[in-house]
């Protein structure tokens, strides 16, 4: 089966200033990512700040050209696709509904903007479609002429989702869509995303640092660390049996609302990941409680696991273990 989105060898570097007289440094935000997104799935991407998950999302969306590597949508390289054709099929929803909506435009005009860019409809039809999209996300038509400042955070995020849906895309890339919201609002937005997926047959790329949310929503999960996917697998299997030591530490650090369990010890030490200074060998080895000599030498290659892969020297092949 060929994937809807195929990313191959995707890398992105940024040149960052380190001060007035210092030489500019190279930041490897994403380093050689291969990733498939299949039709109808919810692909969760998790990882800590600076791991490159948002940069990866922006490259998949075609908003940021990769330094190397390709993204194909239904087999076509997105670099040769017209910008508008790409936007018709794939739309983003960003984290902060306060900064992602133009404060000087009314709701209907914000939602209709992707259609205006496409230039394919009359003004009346754009407005009608915008109101229909608002209806899909549970916002009554009376909000159409409000400004974003008149809406709550949850309502703003609904507007952002309506804007993503107005071109009837197949894929919605959600980058931390509920991280700025309170839990009671977060659950409303997650329910909305679940309903929309079922009703419209959408495919999601869902980026979040909230592992409980990803476990709830995603069908497959990719775990990123310093620009690389270190583990990928079917959600239930990955959460039940994490193979990469980083995934293990990440899952162990989640504080579920269960009293009496105390605060877990993830055994990571105080080193923190610095994308400007990615360690040689396995990028995780300075924090890894299981690191051995070999981890300092070579970058580990992905090894097949029960439901995906893990890039760790200590993980043995599922097939070779069975044999």
């Amino acid at each position: 089966m060929s994937a809807l989105i195929e990313a191959r060898g995707l890398s992105r570097t940024f040149s960052v200033s380190r001060g007035l007289f210092a030489r500019r440094a190279t930041l490897n935000a994403v380093a050689g990512v291969d990733l498939d997104v299949h039709k109808g799935e919810v692909l969760g991407i998790v990882g800590e700040s600076g791991c490159g998950k948002s940069t990866l999302a922006r490259m998949i969306l075609g908003l940021l050209p990769p330094s190397s590597g390709t993204v194909r949508l239904s087999g076509r390289d997105i670099r040769v696709m017209p910008r508008r054709a790409l936007a018709r099929r794939m739309q983003p929803v960003f984290q902060d509904p306060y900064s992602s909506l133009n404060p000087r435009r009314r709701v209907a005009s914000i939602v209709a903007l992707p259609l205006a860019v496409q230039g394919s409809h009359s003004a009346e039809e754009r407005r009608a479609r915008a109101i229909a999209a608002l209806d899909k996300v549970g916002l009554p038509a009376r909000y159409a002429d409000n400004f974003p400042s008149q809406l709550s955070g949850g309502q703003r995020q609904r507007v952002a989702i309506a804007r993503a849906l107005v071109t009837e895309p197949e894929i919605v890339v959600c980058d931390e869509p509920t991280s700025a919201l309170d839990v009671s609002v977060q659950s409303q937005i997650l329910n909305l995303l679940i309903d929309l997926k079922e009703n419209l047959g959408l495919t999601y790329v869902f980026i979040s640092h909230n592992l409980a949310v990803v476990e709830h929503l995603a069908t497959r999960v990719a775990v990123m660390y310093l620009g690389r996917i270190v583990e990928l697998g079917a959600t239930a299997e990955l959460f039940r049996n994490p193979r990469h030591p980083y995934t293990q530490a990440l899952l162990a650090s989640v504080l579920t609302p269960e009293p009496g369990l105390g605060i877990p010890e993830a055994l990571l030490g105080t080193a923190s990941p610095d994308p400007l200074n990615v360690p040689a060998g396995c990028p995780f080895h300075p924090r890894c409680p299981q690191a051995v000599e070999m981890c300092r030498g070579a970058v580990p290659k992905p090894v097949d696991t029960a439901a995906g892969f893990a890039a760790c020297h200590l993980v043995t092949d599922a097939a070779s273990r069975a044999a």
């Binding site: 800590e48 700040s49 709550s152 309170d182 839990v183 009671s184 977060q186 659950s187 409303q188 997650l190 329910n191 679940i194 309903d195 640092h209 592992l211 409980a212 949310v213 476990e215 709830h216 929503l217 069908t219 959600t235 239930a236 959460f239 530490a249 990440l250 162990a252 650090s253 989640v254 504080l255 579920t256 609302p257 269960e258 009293p259 009496g260 369990l261 105390g262 605060i263 877990p264 010890e265 993830a266 990571l268 105080t270 923190s272 610095d274």
Partner: protein, 338 residues
């Protein structure tokens, strides 16, 4: 009985209100909040944005913005009145016997001073200590909060440290003068989960070891479950439920608490990909007055009585909630409708 509890309480708050002047009228950010924090225990204030939990902590620390007015029947630290204290008296306590840890250590630390100078200054100022003595304590505490090579770190500026390290520095600074009370307002919200677990573990360990009273303010029920001895759930400026952590999660009583817990995806409990619980509607405006239960406009159990003064119900000696209905009746209603 009251005297025994009072003697153990490091912080006593009784009927605390905070009102903020706004162009639209007075905003009642905190409405009659009462609780205490005893020596060696961790008390959590939990609630969503705008519930008044941060305003409560700022009111205790006398750090409210100028537009805010504080009123309290009693506000006492180690038995001494804070409400009537002078600025000088407050300054002598703050940073000394009462310390605060904020959400964003980058804005709480002075970017133009080295870590060492900031740590040393707080000790010299409050303890009238010499530079060498204060510096020794700083090195000691940086080691204690898990910072490797503390001597080198003393010469560094905040921007040279990662977020996790900065928060460790904040904790070391809070500990410099050996406080009786630490108020931590969302201390890990800006941090990644692995760092969050480390910082909370550190904080909980130090709190136990040093017998500090810790008031932790958070929106995260996961943190509450793992760290709190006692919990106060806040909604629209008031405490709607108080209990031990074990009681609150085993048997949440107030409809708001129950709603909040139903919104969280719980691994192994909520089936993946299914709809989560929600709390319909929005928080009422706190401008002007609120009569009766502030949650009634969003509550599935609401009825006429909710508009009047709401009684405090007792689920146990340590578990109280403010609701017109007894939880047993609500449970029965829930089963009847299910």
């Amino acid at each position: 009985m009251a005297s025994a509890a009072a003697s153990a309480a490091v912080l006593e708050v009784e009927d605390l209100s905070v009102t903020i002047r706004t162009p639209a009228g007075p905003l009642h950010a905190v409405r009659g909040v009462s609780f205490d924090v005893r020596r060696g225990e961790t008390v959590c204030l939990v609630g969503e944005s705008g519930c008044g939990k941060s305003m409560t902590s700022l009111a205790i620390m006398s750090l409210l913005p100028e537009t805010a007015t504080r009123r309290a029947r009693r506000l006492a630290f180690a038995g001494a009145d804070l409400a009537g204290a002078t600025g000088a008296e407050i300054n002598a306590l703050r940073g000394n016997r009462m310390a605060m840890i904020f959400q964003e250590p980058m804005t709480a630390l002075n970017p133009a001073w080295t870590i060492g100078d900031q740590l040393v200054e707080v000790h010299r100022r409050h303890k009238r200590s010499g530079r060498a003595e204060a510096r020794e304590r700083a090195v000691d505490l940086l080691g204690k909060v898990g910072i490797a090579s503390p001597v080198e770190r003393l010469g560094q500026y905040p921007h040279q440290l990662s977020g996790g390290l900065r928060q460790r520095v904040m904790i070391a600074m809070a500990l410099m003068c050996g406080p009786d009370l630490i108020i931590a307002d969302e201390p890990t919200t800006a941090l990644d989960v692995t760092i969050q677990a480390q910082i909370l573990r550190l904080l909980a360990g130090l709190q136990r070891e040093l017998g500090i009273a810790l008031l932790l303010i958070t929106h995260d029920l996961g943190i509450v479950a793992r760290i709190a001895d006692r919990v106060h759930v806040m909604y629209a400026g008031a405490i709607v439920e108080r209990a031990t952590a074990a009681e609150l999660f085993a048997r949440p009583c107030h409809p708001y608490t129950r709603g909040l817990l139903s919104c969280l995806p719980a691994p192994g409990v909520t089936e993946a990909g299914t709809r989560l619980g929600t709390i319909p509607g929005v928080v009422p405006s706190l401008i002007g007055g609120i009569e009766g239960c502030a949650f009634r406009s969003r509550c599935e159990h609401a009825r006429a009585g909710c508009a009047q003064a709401v009684p405090v119900r007792r689920a146990s000696a340590t578990h109280h909630y403010v609701c017109v209905e007894e939880v047993a009746e609500m449970a029965a209603l829930g089963e009847a409708t299910a």
